[in-house]
Symmetry: C2
Subunit: 204 residues, 2 copies
């Protein structure tokens, strides 16, 4: 009998990276500032301490695509450890601060430190799991079902979900408009599949 397992959509604090960030120097960015640009030599990896950065990749024809939005606690440009240059731009969406972890010393240290390298791998594998999960969530077309599955995964064993951020923030993470989310919540409530009270949701 498989046991239910909790899977946070928002990646938890990256244990290893958080550690590395502690000894790193901070850099502050005003909204709109650019941390690095696509093609720059990769000189550091980062951890977002405050604020929000958007990673944007430029395509051959000049158009751009957002690759990711990194928030407080997220790692940033981990892949730059293994590449000679950045593959996208990083721009602060709001005033932010990041821990700057220089690439060369870090890489050198990791080369001689199996424990840290493994811890780093563990962080990444956790991210892979979360990302896979988010991707599959998007394969659920129906807003109602997608929301329901998301809630089930967030729920504690009693079927209770406590929200730590407003639906307007959660909706885009689910790939839905906030209106769609509210409508789905309304229908699920009407169908007696859940109960709502403020920022608590009880699954039935």
């Amino acid at each position: 009998m498989p046991s239910p397992i909790r899977c946070p959509i928002r990646p938890e604090e990256s244990g290893w990276l958080a550690q590395a960030a502690r000894q790193a120097k901070q850099r502050r960015l005003a909204a709109g500032d650019c941390l690095f640009r696509q093609g720059d030599r990769a000189q550091a990896i980062f951890r977002v301490e405050q604020g929000r950065l958007r990673l944007v990749r430029h395509l051959a024809d000049g158009s751009a695509v957002t690759l990711h939005v990194a928030r407080a606690g997220d790692g940033l440009a981990e892949a730059a450890l293994f590449a000679s240059q950045y593959h996208c731009d990083a721009v602060a969406e709001i005033d932010s601060s990041v821990a700057v972890i220089a690439r060369a010393p870090l890489l050198a240290a990791l080369h001689g430190d199996a424990e840290s390298s493994l811890a780093f791998a563990a962080d990444l594998s956790r991210q892979v799991r979360n990302l896979r999960w988010q991707l599959e969530l998007r394969n659920i077309r129906s807003a109602r079902e997608r929301l329901l599955v998301w809630l089930r995964l967030q729920a504690n064993p009693d079927g209770v979900v406590t929200l730590d951020r407003p639906w307007t923030v959660i909706a885009p993470e689910l790939g839905l408009s906030h209106e769609a989310v509210y409508r789905a919540l309304a229908r699920l409530t009407a169908e007696r599949r859940l109960r709502r009270k403020k920022d608590r949701v009880q699954l039935i």
Copy 2:
């Protein structure tokens, strides 16, 4: 001036894992066979050599969600290295064979081998990049635009994309029905944004 960068949606052969798999023993699975179940003690990680495995997670209420479909060349259950038990079921969709890499010896080896640990991390960071990219691709609502962006990323510097699998296979990877893809291709062709010839697409 940022240079265009190629980003395969299908993760390339995982260099490090491929290496590790070479010395591992193989296991054959008939369609429908189960490689491991959610809650089983994590005793090995795997690499799909042939066939296709589906990873399914069971939720608290008994429903199930597909987490991932692993194909030839893909790693399988890498996260199990860092967990004591599997977090999902793995079932062969068709006759398949996997390389079985025992967990304990591998972990022991990695603990003393910074190089391999780093190589493993590099594999994972590549996966993270690909997954992020796929996730953001899904944020593009319009089938036409999504397809176009995908093509741009797949294109070589000349704007040529050569397909190694039929559209019927690509379509679900893009989160679209194959009909939607064909229609998008037809419109893009009519708009002279691309030319098609067999399994080659030329962007304009």
